[in-house]
């Protein structure tokens, strides 16, 4: 131990950032989103006009996709494993909650097991996490593209199981390939859309807080070690297999939660909605927003839902544009939109400007 004062144990941010701690800015964003339905500030965007049901529904979709994006981000951005089973797990969340919470005495499209929604939701999410954990076993054995193909196949497998005929498996109650009606959970005192909005926002809030807490601390750095210095994790006492499995489990949990929220919002689930198409949607959400960025998935989800609503009449064009977006995002903006401010801040002319400003007035940005 030396007598001289050591630097702080926790990183010192620049003065502006230090003034607002990370938890406070996160809470502020969510507080703002919670009161957004009663504000009329996004009326000009039409799609995200939070004063009417259309805008609120779209925002709820944004939240649902962002939840899946956050989990995907932990898997891809932090642990560096490209697991593509996410579409299947999303479907599991959507169908699982729908089947479990549906009344048992109803007709085919709405038949289920009569569980309360708030029992069905955690059960399905934990089931998904366990499946994710099992899906992760290839991660322990396989590397790189083998893993990508195996997990893609597993995701598809879940969807094909959902599509199975009643004749093959009677208790499944997914109503085959024709689709399933989703029973709504209603938050007391709110109308349908507002209830979905608040439910999705709450789920996103929990996901986001968990993400911030976990990635800023031990789990975050350990997953980064698995991603970047996998070969050296042994002599650090880190079991990289365990952490890959854990990342799969957490992302599966988030994907199922997102699927449940999506189903609550769209009130009807169709197996064909969960094919490779959904994987591409979620990849767009992740990549456009920016891999391993906190607000990346939310930004990506806003972009995606905006595009989807704008091009709703021309679905064919939507897919073309999303495909091209994914290609261009990979080629041009490999770090995503959320990195833009940092990219600009680090660029040479901004540094130059800061230096000149710093000479004039001595405040740091």
């Amino acid at each position: 131990m030396t007598d001289q004062a050591l630097p702080s144990l926790y990183p010192q941010k620049s003065s502006l950032r230090k003034a607002v701690p990370e938890w406070a800015s996160t809470f502020a964003v969510f507080l703002f989103l919670a009161f957004l339905p009663w504000m009329h500030i996004f009326g000009w965007t039409d799609i995200f006009d939070s004063s009417n049901n259309f805008g609120r529904g779209n925002l709820a979709f944004v939240f649902a996709f962002a939840i899946a994006g956050v989990g995907f981000n932990l898997l891809v951005g932090y642990s560096g494993t490209l697991g593509l089973a996410i579409a299947g797990l999303f479907a599991l969340g959507a169908y699982g909650t729908a089947v479990l919470s549906a009344p048992s005495d109803a007709r085919e499209a709405l038949a289920g097991y009569d569980w309360p929604f708030f029992v069905a939701l955690p059960v399905i999410c934990i089931a998904a996490a366990i499946i994710g954990f099992l899906v992760g076993f290839p991660a322990a054995r396989l590397k790189g593209f083998f893993l990508a193909i195996a997990t893609l196949a597993l995701g598809e497998l879940i969807v094909t199981i959902i599509r199975l005929d009643e004749k093959v498996w009677d208790g499944l109650k997914t109503n085959g390939g024709t689709g399933k009606q989703v029973p709504q959970f209603r938050v007391p005192g709110l109308d349908r859309i507002l209830s979905v909005y608040m439910l999705s926002l709450g789920a996103l809030f929990i996901t986001m807080v968990a993400y911030v807490v976990l990635t800023n601390r031990r789990l975050g750095r350990t997953l980064k070690a698995v991603r970047d210095i996998d070969i050296a994790t042994g002599p650090l006492g880190i079991s990289s297999t365990y952490y890959k499995l854990l990342a799969f489990g957490i992302s599966a949990f988030a994907a199922a939660l997102a699927g449940a929220m999506w189903a609550q919002n769209s009130s009807f689930a169709n197996p064909s909605a969960f094919r490779t198409r959904l994987l591409v949607f979620l990849l767009v959400v992740l990549i456009v927003g920016g891999v391993s960025r906190k607000w990346g998935p939310l930004i990506g989800a806003i972009f995606f839902v905006f595009l989807r609503q704008k091009l709703q009449d021309t679905q064919k064009l939507l897919f073309l544009i999303l495909g091209i977006t994914l290609i261009l995002a990979v080629l041009i903006l490999p770090n995503g939109i959320a990195v833009l401010p940092k990219q600009i801040r680090d660029s040479r002319w901004v540094k130059d400007l800061q230096r000149r400003l710093g000479n004039l007035t001595d405040f740091s940005l």
Binding site: M1, T2, L6, P7, S8, L9, Y10, P11, Q12, A210, V213, L214, R217, R218, L219, R221, T222, K224, A225, R227, D228, I229, I231, A232, G234, P235, L236, G237, I238, S239, L246
Partner: protein, 278 residues
């Protein structure tokens, strides 16, 4: 052809309890026999492991830390066999190591990289972390304190919150040494810690290592090409050549051993080297 001398200094395994001893290591990659019956005993203190390129030095480290399986032989840590242990278990048993090329997370801070070394010492799991339990937070703060002290010893406290990728290669290697040491090991394997370091960094590294060794009675095993450094630091040096120990003992003994000189320079240079003792 192996000339094993163990009587010249106090490094006789019969008198001092070896922290780490490897016996009869045999490793072959395909037909290439890298280690052919290596016996080494390392006591607390500084131990040098030198030899020409391709002699199998790093392979010894890889066997000890569990990257390479030895087809026969034994590895004993304080008398306990670790051969059956996984890499992670060996760390918990007290073997720390660094790599020739620094293996750091470049976009994480120096502090975070160093904290990785304490990973296996955390008692609370990630669920406690998620719930922000006070015990877990205290543990994290303690770990940060220990890491900051360690970084301070190696003159890295000022850059603790900078990204590791922004550091020079020398500083990165120091970070790796610090990361190996915060894990509270009893045996530390340092693979060329001074290669690529500037003179100042080497001074800091040696001072830090000497202090820690004295405080904790560590067994430090160093692979190094800088013979001068090894000679000045290690009372006991082992020389590896083509997978065999050709000489072992005090620096004076090893540097004048004709077998060593031949291994490094080939025939005909014995006289030249003898003229300039370093």
């Amino acid at each position: 052809m192996s000339v094993v001398e163990t009587t010249t200094s106090g490094a006789d395994p019969n008198h001092v309890v070896a922290s780490l001893s490897v016996e009869g290591l045999h490793v072959a990659f395909g037909g290439n026999r890298v280690l052919q019956g290596v016996d080494l005993h390392f006591a607390p203190g500084f131990n040098g492991l030198i030899g020409p390129n391709g002699a199998g030095k790093t392979t010894v480290f890889n066997v000890v830390s569990g990257y390479v399986r030895s087809s026969e032989g034994a590895i004993r840590l304080h008398g306990e066999d670790v051969l059956h242990m996984s890499r992670t278990q060996r760390v918990k048993a007290g073997i720390g190591r660094t790599f020739q090329a620094p293996r750091l997370i470049l976009d994480a801070t120096v502090m975070e990289n160093t904290l990785l070394g304490r990973h296996h010492l955390f008692r609370w799991g990630h669920f406690a972390e998620l719930l922000l339990l006070p015990q877990q937070r205290r543990e994290e703060t303690e770990a940060r304190q220990i890491c900051m002290d360690m970084l301070d010893r190696f003159g890295l406290a000022d850059v603790a919150h900078e990204e590791a990728g922004a550091l020079s290669l020398g500083s990165q290697k120091l970070v790796e040494v610090a990361r190996a040491l915060v894990a509270d090991p009893t045996v530390v394997l340092l693979d060329e810690p001074a290669a690529g370091l500037g003179a100042d960094d080497v001074t800091v590294l040696l001072r830090g290592l000497r202090e820690l060794q004295a405080e904790r009675n560590l067994c430090v095993i160093i692979i190094e090409h800088d013979l001068q450094l090894v000679v000045s630091l290690c009372p006991k040096i082992s020389v590896l050549h083509f997978g065999e120990i050709i000489s072992e003992g005090s620096p004076e003994h090893v540097t004048t051993d004709p077998a060593v000189i031949e291994a490094y320079l080939g025939h005909g240079f014995e006289a030249e080297l003898a003229e300039e003792p370093s």
